[in-house]
């Protein structure tokens, strides 16, 4: 018998559900300490530059919210799907399409906008993202094709489409052949919520998504169906729940939220359509969803933390010339540690040989 073994708990530990994300963050920071040491940086200074310094100014806190906005929007939708075992990993593509459709409306009505333009863009962005997510939903239900692979393939297609558009039809006619669109007019820009920062209306949408997601999962029948399907698909079948409808619902909703996030980026901090809308928000949102325990409120906290890893990476690059790629390593490590420590929810770690069963 090995010295270390896992013993199933009778019941999943509620305390561990909340403790393991914190444990994962602590382990990530400890690994970061070692990583910085290996790279030849003063680890304490580097960790400070990465995780604390960005929060010492109003601008920094504002940027945190700006970056958390798309992460939370995407992750709330993804988490609802993950709960129902619908693995949409195409949020990056859905976000990109939302930016194209929402931002495209701003360009289409360039010069003759009005108060109605921004609401139209919101709807357009959400509809674009939902339409993009409808493809994997349709292919899964009609042809049994894995939504994991189809939604991921569509990410590449969406990015190439964006690239084509900013080099072609969307390119600023008065620009110097830069691959970017005109700057949006005032009618097509998200209002700023907190003056002196770039925090925009999208942050409010993200909060609404969190609240809506909570109500949906905790208080509605469809949320109940989602949970049952995820936990025991067979029971859902006996209960007569329409699994097809849930798959449609999960994908369309997460697509719409991701599309909204993309629209918010081009109409918010970016202010135009260019080839680099997202530094991988759609992928990081997967981590946010898990770190937040697939729970909307948890996702809000996790979104802020992952946003910190983005701005921390940038800040540390400027302050200490730390390689920017560290952000990705941190994010990946965090998810690893979380998944590893989640074993504690359902198992106890026991040392020594197995006791005789009474």
């Amino acid at each position: 018998m090995s010295l270390l073994r896992l013993e199933p708990r009778g019941q999943a530990s509620k305390a561990m559900v909340y403790a393991t994300p914190l444990l994962a963050v602590a382990l990530t920071l400890a690994s970061g300490f070692i990583l910085f040491l290996l790279l030849g940086f003063d680890p304490l200074k580097a960790l400070y530059a990465f995780f604390v310094a960005p929060l010492t100014s109003t601008r920094g806190v504002g940027e945190l919210i700006v970056k958390a906005t798309p992460l939370v929007l995407c992750a709330v939708g993804l988490a609802i799907g993950f709960r129902a075992n619908v693995w949409n990993i195409g949020a990056e593509g859905q976000l990109t399409i939302g930016a194209i459709t929402g931002g495209g409306l701003a360009l289409a009505f360039y010069g003759d906008g009005g108060w109605w333009l921004l609401p139209l863009m919101v709807i357009g962005g959400a509809a674009g993202g939902a339409a993009w997510a409808a493809v994997p939903a349709f292919l899964r239900l009609r042809f049994n094709a894995s939504e994991i692979l189809t939604s991921l393939m569509l990410n590449y297609v969406a990015l190439l489409l964006l690239n084509y558009l900013v080099h072609g039809p969307f390119r600023d006619p008065d620009g110097f052949a830069f691959p970017e669109s005109r700057l949006f007019e005032a009618d097509a820009v998200m209002p700023i919520l907190w003056s002196g920062t770039r925090v925009h209306l999208g942050a409010l949408f993200a909060l609404l998504a969190v609240a809506g997601g909570w109500v949906l999962m905790a208080r509605t029948f469809i949320g109940f169906q989602i949970k049952v399907i995820g936990l025991t698909p067979a029971a859902a079948g006996y209960a007569g729940f329409d699994q097809k409808r849930i798959i449609w619902f999960a994908l369309l909703l997460s697509g719409a939220l991701a599309g909204l996030a993309g629209m918010g980026e081009v109409a918010g901090p970016i202010g135009q359509i260019n080839a680099s809308i997202s530094p991988g928000y759609g992928y990081t949102a997967i981590i946010v969803a898990f770190l937040g325990r697939l729970h909307p409120v948890g996702i809000l906290l996790a979104g802020l933390l992952m946003a910190l890893s983005f701005i921390g990476g940038e800040a540390a690059q400027i302050a200490m010339n730390l390689p920017k790629a560290i952000t990705g390593v941190f994010q990946g490590m965090l998810l690893f540690f979380l998944l590893a420590s989640d074993v504690l929810i359902r198992y106890r770690v026991r040392f020594g040989a197995r006791r005789a069963v009474a």
Binding site: S146, L149, V157, I287, V329
Partner: protein, 309 residues
């Protein structure tokens, strides 16, 4: 160039473009046959690509680079194995984590190596044969990895279907509880399978960075790891069909490049979508036959196994 010469170079390029897919997909096939779904192929390929490249640049020895690439891929996959096999983490989530981690780690390792050119691997040259029209370059003018990938197809087939170890591996993938009851070490067998998959993905990645486009760039696999995963489904878990699928995708990739090169009036970005759209298309075509997928997919694929439970 004459039409025949163009055809010859297209054929040669097709085999080369298929090679990274063939490595990665064959590795993943063995992993899935043992009942494990590792979605981290893209991440393992990237780590293999950057490690192979970096070591080759540093040591000047491509052989060392390739060995290190395979080891690096295997080491990356061991993280996945540790989490899913011994800590019982969800395989889908862990595979995604492996890809996200691999993207970040490879970018970090490779930051000092961007823009450095590498010579690429030496190509076979058999006077007379390599100069044959059309097929000469394709069949007799490739480098060692292309032949190695093709040779791996019958080897994997022999292992899986004509060796005792392969039989045990398949048994574990079909029904881990029964295999465990018979006394087979389910976790050890799966661990070895995952390591093999990682090494193969690492080699596939190294082929890209050391030979196909001999340089390092962030995210240079551009989705090939995911296409490899789709290929395994497309091949209904049969090695020979993986090869066909890889050639098909190599063909689509090369055709798309040639159409761009001929100056056809289609924007290059739209043509670049073709391999991804083709992946979706073949997935749809193969998956629609639910009975066939169910018949061929390892029955324990993606399910967790705890020996005490």
């Amino acid at each position: 160039m004459s039409d025949l010469a163009i055809l010859g170079s297209i054929l040669a390029a097709m085999f080369a473009a298929a090679t990274p897919l063939l490595f990665a997909a064959l590795g993943e096939l063995v992993v899935e046959k043992s009942g494990v779904l590792n979605l981290g192929v893209e991440g393992m390929m990237l780590v293999g690509a950057v490690c192979g490249f970096a070591v080759t640049v540093q040591t000047g020895s491509a052989t060392t680079g390739l060995v290190v690439a395979a080891l690096a891929g295997a080491a990356t996959s061991s993280l996945f194995a540790l989490l899913t096999l011994f800590l019982l983490a969800n395989q889908v989530a862990t595979g995604l984590a492996l890809t996200l981690f691999g993207v970040g780690l490879s970018a970090l390792i490779g930051q000092g190596f961007v823009g450095i050119p590498l010579e690429g691997l030496p190509k076979l040259n058999i006077p007379g044969l390599t100069d044959l029209p059309v097929v000469g370059q394709a069949l007799f003018g490739q480098d060692i990895l292309v032949y190695l990938a093709i040779a791996a197809v019958p080897l994997v087939h022999l292992f899986l279907y004509h060796s005792r170890a392969g039989l045990v591996l398949r048994a574990v993938g079909e029904n881990h509880t029964a295999a465990h009851a018979l006394g087979y070490k389910v976790l050890r067998i799966r661990f070895l399978a995952v390591l093999f998959g990682g090494a193969m993905a690492g080699l596939g990645g190294a082929f890209l960075s050391m030979d196909y486009t001999p340089m390092w760039a962030e995210n240079m696999t551009s989705g090939r790891g995911w296409i490899a995963l789709a290929l395994v489904v497309f091949a209904t878990w049969k090695p020979a069909r993986v090869m066909l699928g890889a050639w098909l995708f190599g063909g689509v990739t090369i055709l798309q490049l040639h159409v761009q090169g001929m100056g056809v009036e289609v924007p290059s970005q739209l043509l670049s979508m073709l391999p991804y759209l083709a992946t979706v298309l073949v997935l749809v075509l193969i998956s629609r036959d639910v009975a066939r997928i169910r018949l061929n997919a390892p029955a324990s694929l993606g399910k967790l196994f705890h020996p005490d439970a």
